[in-house]
């Protein structure tokens, strides 16, 4: 928009742009109507009088700027009114003499009045008719100058004060010229001072101008910093420093465009602009301050560079040593943590022989020092693992672990690291667990999904070994992506595993020793009991043998002759009882043979059914209250030792009789249950065997019932079992729901070859 002053003057209407221009003018101006109403004011005026525009516009000037009520001698209002009246009257500019007029401070800045000195000039603006349309009231704040003068006056003598007054009067006469000159001098002085300050400032400063960034000024410190040995003034930046970091050029350009100051801290800059061949880095704090020409347009940039290289280096040194110190501290803490782990684990492992419990505690100690979760696995047999203990840093996952392995469930050997450790006894270290690795390690899909859900990225499995024998494995796993296993972790894990293995072995040895001791004690008890029973069983027949012998002797000694009947009873008893003794002794000898593996079978082809029938017939003679019934089906011949098998059948039927104290039926059944298998069942209706004793009925010296109540050495079933097993068969005790006992002998009897049949016939 182009508006000439004439056009403006003709229209009386201040155009918006012009008003803004007026308001931004560097001088302190006030525009008044002929009746002294303020209609316009410049920013500079507002600034110097500490007023806001809205406080002034539309107001009567003397209301806006009254005299200082505290100063009775104030003349400001009167003098100004006189000057303004003169302007109205003469329609010519009127310069007022140096005028004191105090400015009231806004309440916000403390209120009160500030002593000020002014050099005002009032100029008329004439309308078309030649009448005064406006008065431009312009002021210069010369307070500083006056104050200086006053100060000088205070220090000078009267003569000096007089001289000042003369000088002031001179100034009154030719103020404009004088002030201009003074200002120019002052400005020149100022410029020289600034230049000197600029050139000798301890910080490097350069001024560049225009989009080409042409050097306008550069001080000594700048030359020293950058290393230029030649004059750079007048040359564009890109020629002086062709390889300068483009980012710096970009920063400068931005300041030029935006007019906003740039502050950059600790910017590394490579400097080697005189081709010394030794580029060097400096770290600079940079400030690019735009400067403007008289129209306010950005002309160039004043660049300040503070060399903070030394500070930065010093700080880096400090930071590095701090980091080293922190590293050492961390290392020490880690070492301490590990020693503590080993110590606590050692104490825990030593605290109890219940290694399942102590390993659980050690697992809890192991996380998080050696991993985010861990397991202790022990080998059971050759193909199974028992997860004895597990721990996870996250309580929820720990609960899942507890549920999974609470019962110490055994499971087949998985693939992966545990299997390898168990196979070769060496630590398996998997620094990166890939999904492929998981797939290889998983035993099934469920296992794979579970392992995936654990989200571990590294693992280590170390053997639990004693005396070179691997008894299990300790596995530690990392979930935390910030962590990785180190050689130290490995050593520590192996040491932990070594201690755990020793503890496990000690516990196992102790348990085995305990079991052996219990076994030995049980054996001693069984032997004592056997001796007691044997003594009783031997003494009982001896009692009657000896008693009858003594009875007969006594009669003979007293000259009597025993009656034939008594003689027969005595001799019969002696016969039966000595037979019983012989049987007992045979049983003892059998046990002795069995123990020494010297029981040898003499097999022949025998009709087993008939053999059972014969035994039953013989034993039926010994009891009136029992009925022994023998049934047989099919071919019951087989290659057996008839004497030994007879011993077995006798024992079984005798037991049936003995344990049916109230008599009853005893059934013996012989049948070919399979083409090559013969079953002999002997069932009674007796007292049976209490469930708690059933597992032991075939143990030597074992008696399910009070041995003294039923008699016998407790060897019969043990010997029978051995005989049956020597035949390649087995003997079972069954307990039908209706009561009694059913003993089943199963004998392998391959179909006979013709010649064997012939032998039988022969």
């Amino acid at each position: 928009m182009k508006t000439t002053i004439q056009e403006h003057a003709a229209g009386y209407t201040p155009l918006p742009d012009f008003q803004r221009l007026f308001e931004a003018a560097p001088g302190a101006y006030l525009v008044l109507t002929p009746d002294f109403i303020i209609v316009a004011v410049t920013d500079a005026y507002l600034s110097t009088t500490m007023r806001r525009r809205e406080e002034l516009i539309g107001r009567y000037i003397f209301d806006a700027f009254p005299d200082n009520p505290d100063d009775a001698a104030a003349t400001g209002v009167g003098n100004l009114r006189a000057s303004l009246e003169r302007v109205l009257h003469t329609r010519r500019a009127d310069s007022m003499p140096l005028q004191r007029y105090d400015i009231s401070r806004p309440e916000a800045t403390g209120g009160g009045w500030e002593e000020r000195y002014w050099s005002p000039i009032n100029s008329p603006v004439l309308g078309d008719t030649g009448a005064v349309q406006y008065i431009i009231h312009r002021v210069e704040d010369v307070t500083a100058y006056v104050k200086l003068e006053q100060a000088e006056r205070d220090h000078q003598c009267l003569a000096a004060r007089l001289q000042t007054r003369i000088g002031q009067m001179e100034a009154d006469a030719s103020r404009d010229a004088h002030e201009l000159q003074a200002a120019r001098r002052e400005a020149e002085l100022q410029r020289e001072r600034l230049h000197a300050l600029f050139m000798h400032a301890p910080a490097p400063i350069a001024m560049v101008r225009g989009t080409e960034l042409v050097y306008e000024l550069a001080n000594t410190a700048y030359y020293q910093l950058v290393g230029h040995k030649r004059d750079v003034i007048g040359q564009p930046l890109r020629e002086v420093m062709p390889d300068l970091d483009p980012a710096i050029v970009a920063d400068l350009t931005r300041v030029l465009q935006s007019g906003e100051r740039f502050i950059g801290n600790e910017i590394p800059v490579i400097l080697d602009w005189d081709n010394t061949g030794k580029p060097y880095e400096k770290v600079l704090n940079l400030v690019y301050e735009p400067y403007r020409d008289s129209t306010g347009a950005i002309e160039g940039i004043m660049a300040f560079a503070y060399d903070v290289t030394a500070q930065v280096i010093a700080r880096r040194v400090i930071e590095e040593s701090e980091a080293r110190l922190r590293g050492a501290l961390n290392h020490a803490e880690t070492a301490h943590q590990r020693l503590t782990l080993l110590a606590q684990a050692g104490a825990t492992l030593g605290s109890s022989l219940d290694y399942a419990t102590t390993l659980r505690q050690v697992a809890q100690l192991t996380v998080p020092v050696l991993g985010d979760f861990c397991f202790f696995d022990l080998i059971v047999g050759d193909t199974e693992l028992e997860r004895v203990a597990s721990a996870h840093i996250d309580p929820d996952t720990q609960a899942v672990f507890d549920q999974l392995w609470d019962s110490r469930a055994r499971r087949p050997l998985p693939g992966g690291s545990i299997a390898k450790v168990i196979t070769n006894g060496e630590t398996q270290f998997v620094p990166y667990v890939s999904d492929e690795w998981l797939q290889q390690a998983a035993i099934n899909l469920e296992h794979l999904q579970f392992m995936r859900s654990l989200r571990f990225h590294a693992l280590m499995t170390v053997p639990l070994a004693v005396h070179g024998r691997t008894i299990g494995a300790l596995t530690v796993c990392l979930v935390d992506p910030q962590r990785a296993y180190t050689a130290i972790d490995r050593e520590l894990t192996e040491e932990l595993a070594r201690r755990a293995a020793i503890a496990i072995e000690n516990a196992q040895l102790y348990t085995a020793e305990q079991a052996a001791r219990a076994h030995a004690e049980a054996a001693v008890r069984a032997r004592d009991e056997f001796l007691s029973v044997a003594a009783h069983e031997l003494k009982t027949p001896i009692t009657s043998v000896r008693g009858f012998a003594l009875l007969l002797l006594k009669q003979v000694a007293s000259g009597q002759t025993p009656t034939p009947e008594r003689l027969q009873r005595a001799l019969s008893t002696i016969d039966i009882q000595t037979n019983k003794l012989t049987q007992f002794i045979d049983q003892l000898l059998d046990v002795s043979r069995i123990t020494a593996n010297k029981l040898v079978l003499k097999r022949r082809c025998v009709n087993i059914g008939m053999l059972v029938q014969d035994v039953a017939t013989g034993l039926q003679q010994t009891t009136d209250s029992h009925t022994i019934v023998v049934t047989m089906h099919g071919d019951t011949t087989g290659m057996v030792d008839p004497i030994r098998l007879e011993q077995v059948i006798t024992n079984l039927i005798n037991n049936a009789i003995k344990y049916s104290p109230y008599g009853g039926m005893i059934r013996a059944k012989i049948q070919r249950s399979q083409p090559a298998e013969l079953r002999i069942c002997i069932a009674d209706q007796g007292v049976g065997i209490p469930p708690e004793h059933r597992a032991h009925v075939f143990d030597p010296f074992y008696q399910a019932h009070d041995p003294f109540a039923f008699g016998g050495l407790g060897l019969g079933l043990s010997i029978s079992r051995t005989i049956v097993e020597l035949h390649g068969g087995q003997i079972l005790a069954e307990f039908p729901r209706e009561g009694g006992t059913r003993m089943v002998v199963v004998l392998p009897v391959p179909p006979l070859l013709p010649e064997e049949n012939q032998q039988e016939g022969a």
């Binding site: 007691s532 003594a535 009783h536 003494k539 009982t540 027949p541 001896i542 009692t543 009657s544 043998v545 000896r546 008693g547 009858f548 003594l550 009875l551 006594k554 008594r566 009873r569 008893t573 039966i576 009882q577 104290p661 009070d706 003294f708 109540a709 039923f710």
Partner: protein, 121 residues
């Protein structure tokens, strides 16, 4: 009560029972026999003996249990001669407060003398 002197033999071994009966018959005692403690309790209720010869190890009701139950029956109580092959016979005799103890195998004279001695008490 009649004049005869009754001896109750409580013994499960038939041969020993027969021997005891023969020996004590020869001495003029009336001998009752019971094959276990349960039978013996019935006998003592019907025909109270003057002396009881008691085995320890018997099916159904052994000597110890018989003695305990017998002591609970109305008085008078016949003296008990414990006759046993047990190794800890002394302890058993103490336990049942037996009046005499005979170990198997026994001397016939010892048996007769012991029964006679107990008869006099």
């Amino acid at each position: 009560m009649d004049d005869c002197l009754r001896v109750l033999v409580v013994e499960d071994d038939a041969a020993i029972t027969e021997l005891l009966k023969l020996v004590l018959d020869d001495e003029g005692f009336v001998v009752e026999v019971a094959e276990n403690g349960a039978v013996a309790l019935e006998v003592v209720a019907q025909t109270p003996p003057h002396v009881i010869v008691l085995d320890w190890m018997m099916p159904m009701l052994d000597g110890i249990d018989f003695a305990a139950l017998y002591q609970q029956t109305p008085r008078p109580h016949a003296p008990i001669i414990l006759l046993t092959a047990a190794r800890d016979a002394d302890e058993i005799a103490d336990e049942i407060q037996a009046d005499a103890l005979l170990r198997k195998p026994f001397e016939i004279d010892d048996l007769v003398n012991t029964v006679k001695l107990c008869m006099c008490r």
